[in-house]
Structure formats: structure tokens, C-alpha cells
Amino acid sequence: MDNLHLLKYEVIFHWGAVALYIVSTIFFAYSVSFKKTSVLKYGMFSALAGLVPHSIALGLRWNMAGHGPYMAKYEVLSSNAWVVILMFILVGWKIPRLRAAGIIVVPLSFLMMTFGLFANPELKKLPPALSGVWLVIHILFNKLAVGAILISLGSAVLYLLKKGNKDREFYRKLPSLEVLDEYSYKFIAFGFIFWSITIVAGSIWANEAWGRYWGWDPIETWSLITWLLYGLFLHLRYFFKLRGVKSVYMLIACFVVSVITIFFIPFIIETLHGSYFM
């Protein structure tokens, strides 16, 4: 089968996955809006079902491109969404009380993916510098960081929802406010570790490719800014007992800066990292 046919199937599988993620989002929205705990599992199942065509689409893409899905918006956003959904399903399986966080995680993932699908689907070849194990680690952990941050955001939103509806049955089944707050913190800590590994692996890779591990490139600098912001958040929690709503707002600020770093900086400032996203 030639690449054109494969590309057609890949697009069909991608949109099939989007459709299932939309169904999943509807279940989560219904569950949270109408306080139906039992519906959450349908949201989880649909998300899991969505992963099947999504994995096939990415596999086809990988096969056609001859490299992992990390070149250009189309591949980057789709593979980010795949990692986030997979992480969320694993977390929902291990910590069933956090399944309602799907109300944030699943729609943000499929929106990210859809945004990518509207970009140019052209297969891009790898420039010589984009190879090696450190690049793979760099990319993989960046995607894991995105996943951890989104799940943390989901938990933070559940905190805000529960705070305003403490007495409702649905919210009583969620973890206590303190525990939700702590889950947000824990997933931010995961995000911090993954982000640190992203920076470190990127530095080692840069040193192998260009002979310098830090060059104040805009993406490098904004990665450091994001990392420092998470560091600030973690120190504020530890030293100044930042908890509750204030902690949620700080977490949202961290999320916004991460989004700026990963998705907006390559568009607004010329950067060495531009090739992965243009």
C-alpha cells in the first residue's frame, strides 16, 4: 500500500479517535453536570476505546515518516494527546476517585489533537541533529510532563467544583478537599520531575549536537522559566503552606506558562526548536 493510501487511513483513524474522545467528554460532562457517578466509567471506556484508533493512526504515521511522531504540529499535538489520555486512563485505573478529572483532561486533549489535525499533515523528514537516544528521552518526558500537568489541573478544577458544592452526593464521593489539593500538588511534582528530565536530556542532546548544553535559545529560556515557576510553587507550598484556592490559582498560572512555552513561543520568537512545531 502506498503512502497516499496509508495517509488516508491514518486521517480516518485520527478522526475516529477524536469522535470517541468527544463521546468520552460528553459522558464526563453529563456525569459532572448531573451528578451521576455511574456515568464516569462510560467516559473512561470511551477514552480507552479512542486510544485504539489513535494508536493505529500514530503507528501508521510512524511507519510512513520513518521517525517517531515528533515533527511538526500535526504529529506533536496528536502524540501529546495520546500520552495524556493514556496517562489519565492509568491514573483513573489506579486512583478511581480521580476519574472525574476527565472533565478537564479529555476535552483539552482532543482539542489539542484537533488543532493539530487542522495543520499541514505533510510528512516531514528529520534534520541530522534530530536523532539519538537523548532526543527520544527529551521528547518523551516533555509529553509526560504535559500529561502530569493536565491531570493536576483536572484535580484542581475538581477542587474548585467541590468547594462550591460540598453537600451534593456526587461531590461527597470525590476525595476530600484536602486530598484533591494534595493530588494536584503530587501531579505537579510529577510534572516538575518530568520537566526537569526534559531539560536535562535536551541539554545533553544539545551538547552532543552543537557542543554546548545551554544557549539561552527562547525555548530553552522559557523551559527554564516554567521550571522555576514550578519550583516557586513547590517552595511556596512547603515553606508558606500555600493551600486551597490560592494554590489552585498558582497552579493555573503554571499551566498557562507551560502552554506558552510549548505552543506559543515557537510562533512568536525565532528559535532553534522551531522545526518541531512549524
Partner: protein
């Protein structure tokens, strides 16, 4: 004197100082990425800025915001971070060494109950280990306290993480002071003799002046290949290195650097064509010159260059097409569109030659004869020495390991107290995720109570059966 020293020490590890320093570095990074920096822009850029908006320029220049990462205030903040980290690591090590004195379990059994084993198994199944057992007997009650701990290594997380950061900062300061980095344009068949003046561009640490790698590098050949859309696929230099009288052959490509006597050589993605000309002057003297042209980013465009011909008054303007038949980066059928000016002036009235040349062609420039000798490739090589790189890598490893220990393996300690009647009470401490820890303790307590009840029932039935 002593009180001021105490005050300084308190200041260095005060949470407010730490938060403020993180914020200063954060703001510096934002400023550095948004405000044009002297290291990235030419002096004329700042001259234009100065002319257009003198007040903004003055403000930015006075606060050194156009050279943030070498500014006095940024370096002072980095210095304070370093001292604060160093002192905080020292204090944490001292505190941890005091706390980790393990007396080992005391196992004197004073109760006639199997409770401790049951308790132990519950904790061990959850990854806890028995730290110690303390027995106490008051006039009212006898009590046994079992102290369990999990993730003891987690106590060292903060020390390891902050030591890692300290190492990375120290190595960055070493690089800032002592690094050596130079770029060479090496033409096929030529040798770089390792002398400082051979570098086209240098980037040196503030305490380093010259960069003289103690070996010679000869470029035997250069290979460049492309994908179907003419994006670069692979570039490779074939090198011969001459060091201490010995020669060795190497292949150098991107992501595959070469180490020679502590100096690393990297393949750059800057490369292009070197056009050789021989000028035979009226006096009979022959001058050989090679002009290096960068490979154009777009395959449909020619490689261009403009340069003086040394020791003559000629100015050359070149447009080089690697293949006259089709867009290509491979010089299969090359042609040069050459314009030569007299008196080093690009004025059209000074044109002495304007036309196409193939390799091997000769043209007359007044009384002189210009011979287009050959076309070779040139390869961009980066030579670098960074004495602090191993410290950087050690810092990276320590930083990641420390962060994992802090956040994924937080130290937990649970005290389970059992009285003579078999009643259990537990309490505990941890530094992170307290609410989740309380839930875990509740689960353990419930499990213990259930086990103890079963044990008591078992004991009662045993007594009933055996009298």
C-alpha cells in the same frame, strides 16, 4: 560581629530569601527572552534603537537589561543562590546525620500476645520497615510502641537535589570563566593548524584568552546528502588528525563528535562551496585565493558572496549555481556568474568583468588573467573545551535523583502503640502529602484492628478448645 554572622546565615536560608531569589532569576529570564540581547544582535541594532527611542534605550541600558545574563545584578543573584544553596545543603546534611542514627530493633517481648508479628506483617506488606520497638511500663499501663519507617532515603532527597543544582551552577560558572569554543571553516584538502588566529569566530570564557588545540586537523573530504525536498539529511567530514606526530583518520557527523586530547570537535550544519581562483598579474606573479560561499537555505537560489581579492584592488561579486540543469546542492555541472569591480568599489562604472564562468575557464581583467581553478566543499567545524562538563552531568544526575526522592519517595514514619489489652493506636509524620498520608494511616489502622480482632477471636477459640 557574631550576631551579624548569625543574621547573614539566617538571611541565606530564610524562605523569603529563597523565594525572592527564584523570582529574580525568573524575571531575569523573562527579560532576557523578551528584550533584545547584546549577544544576539549587532551593535548597529542598538545604535538604531538609541536614535529612535533614547529614553527606553537608556532605561534598558542602565539596568543592563540588554545584557541580562552578564549583568551585575543577575550575577549577584546567581552568587547569592550559590551561597544559599551551599549553606542550606551543609545544614541539611548535618541535620540528617543527626536524625539517621538507627539503634536497631529492640525485641524484648513483655506481652503474651502475638500482636507485634501481626502488626509487623501489615506494615511490611506496605513497604515499611521496623525501625525500633520501645516498651514502656507505667503504674497504670504497659505499652509497646513499634516505630515503622518507609523511604528512609527520601530524607536525603532535598540534600541531593540541591547539591545537584549547586553543581550545575558551579559548572556554569566554570564554563563562563574557562570555556573555549571556536568555529573553523575548513576547505577540502586544507589543514587547520590549531592556532588561535585560525578560528573564524570564537566564544571564550572571561578568564581565557587564547584557544590553541595542540593538534592539526586535515579535511580529506566532505559529504552532504538531502531528502527528496532538499532538506539536509546527513553531513559528514572525513578528517585526519595529526597529534604528537601520529596521524589518525576519523569520520565526523552531527550528533557524533570527536574527542582529541580533551578537545571536542563537532560537525556544524554550516557548510558550503569554496571557489578557487588564480590571478596571474602583469608582473608574472600568481595569486591563489579561495572564496567560501554558504550553502543557500533554498535549493532554487544560488550561493552568493561578495569579497575583495587579496592584495589587489578587485572586488568579486559571485552567484554560484551548483548544477546548471536543475535545482540542486550537488555541484554536478556548476557555473558561476561573476562580476569583478576595480578599485574595490561596487559602483557599476567600475565593472571590469561581468559574465559566466565554468571551472577551468580563464578571463582577462585588464592586463591580468583570472583563472577559475576549481570548486571544493568547505565544512564548518566547532572546536570546544569545557572543563566543567562532567560537573554539569553529575549535577544533572543528582538533581533528578534528588527530585525523585523528594516527591516520589517522601520519608514516612508511623508509630503503632499496643497496650496489654491489644488496643492499637497509631500516629505518624511525613513532610509531604499529609492528607494522603492520613488516609494511608487510617487504612493501616483499620486493617490492624481487623487483624487484631481476628487474632483475639482465634485466641479465644483456641482457649475454648484446649481449656
Amino acid at each position: 560581629m557574631r550576631s551579624s554572622s548569625i543574621r547573614i546565615k539566617k538571611f541565606l536560608i530564610s524562605p523569603r530569601t529563597i523565594i525572592s531569589l527564584i523570582m529574580i532569576i525568573l524575571i531575569a529570564c523573562v527579560a532576557g527572552s523578551l528584550i533584545p540581547q547584546a549577544a544576539d544582535k549587532s551593535p548597529s541594532y542598538f545604535e538604531t534603537w538609541k536614535e529612535k527611542n533614547i529614553y527606553t534605550y537608556r532605561f534598558v541600558n542602565r539596568l543592563q537589561l540588554n545584557r541580562v545574563y552578564t549583568s551585575f545584578w543577575f550575577l549577584s543573584a546567581v552568587f547569592l543562590v550559590t551561597v544559599s544553596l551551599g549553606y542550606s545543603v551543609y545544614l541539611q546534611v548535618r541535620r540528617n546525620l543527626r536524625q539517621t542514627t538507627d539503634h536497631g530493633p529492640q525485641t524484648t517481648d513483655i506481652f503474651e500476645t502475638e500482636a507485634p508479628d501481626k502488626i509487623k506483617s501489615v506494615f511490611i506488606s506496605r513497604g515499611y520497615r521496623l525501625l525500633t520497638v520501645r516498651n514502656s511500663q507505667t503504674s497504670v499501663n504497659r505499652e509497646r510502641k513499634l516505630i515503622f519507617a518507609k523511604n528512609s532515603i527520601g530524607r536525603w532527597g532535598s540534600v541531593i537535589f540541591h547539591s545537584g543544582l549547586l553543581l550545575v551552577i558551579v559548572s556554569a560558572l566554570i564554563a563562563f570563566s574557562f570555556q573555549k569554543r571556536g568555529f573553523v571553516q575548513l576547505i577540502e584538502g586544507e589543514t587547520f593548524d590549531g592556532r588561535d588566529d585560525g578560528f573564524l569566530v570564537k566564544n571564550m570564557g572571561i578568564l581565557t584568552k587564547d584557544f590553541n588545540p595542540d593538534f592539526k586537523t586535515h579535511l580529506r573530504g566532505f559529504r552532504h546528502t538531502y531528502w527528496e525536498d532538499w532538506q539536509v539529511k546527513f553531513v559528514e567530514s572525513s578528517l585526519t588528525v595529526i597529534s604528537d606526530g601520529k596521524t589518525s583518520r576519523h569520520m565526523l557527523s552531527v550528533n557524533n563528535p570527536l574527542v582529541v586530547n580533551g578537545t571536542k570537535i563537532y560537525q556544524s550544519l554550516d557548510y558550503g562551496y569554496a571557489l578557487s581562483f588564480i590571478l596571474k598579474q602583469q608582473s608574472g606573479e600568481e595569486i591563489l585565493t579561495r572564496f567560501t560561499l554558504d550553502r543557500p537555505a533554498d535549493v532554487n537560489k544560488p550561493a552568493i558572496g561578495k569579497s575583495d581579492f587579496p592584495t589587489t584592488g578587485y572586488l568579486f561579486e559571485m552567484k554560484f549555481y551548483p548544477d546548471i540543469r536543475k535545482p540542486s546542492f550537488y555541484p554536478a555541472m556548476p557555473i558561476l556568474y561573476l562580476t569583478v569591480y576595480k578599485n574595490r568599489s561596487a559602483d557599476p562604472s567600475q565593472i571590469i568583468f561581468n559574465g559566466l564562468l565554468l571551472p577551468g575557464n580563464a578571463v582577462k581583467l585588464g592586463e591580468d588573467v583570472l583563472y577559475f581553478a576549481d570548486i571544493r566543499n568547505w565544512s564548518g567545524l566547532i572546536f570546544a573545551e569545557n572543563p566543567g562538563i562532567f560537573i554539569t552531568y553529575a549535577g544533572f544526575i543528582a538533581g533528578i535523583a534528588g527530585a525523585v526522592m523528594i516527591f516520589l519517595m517522601p520519608y514516612k514514619e508511623i508509630h503503632a502503640s499496643v497496650d496489654a489489652s491489644g488496643n492499637i493506636a497509631i500516629d505518624g509524620m511525613t513532610k509531604r502529602y499529609n492528607a494522603l498520608f492520613r488516609e494511608e494511616m487510617k487504612e493501616i489502622e483499620d486493617e490492624l484492628r481487623k487483624d487484631m480482632k481476628e487474632a483475639a477471636a482465634h485466641q479465644q477459640s483456641f482457649v475454648r478448645e484446649h481449656g
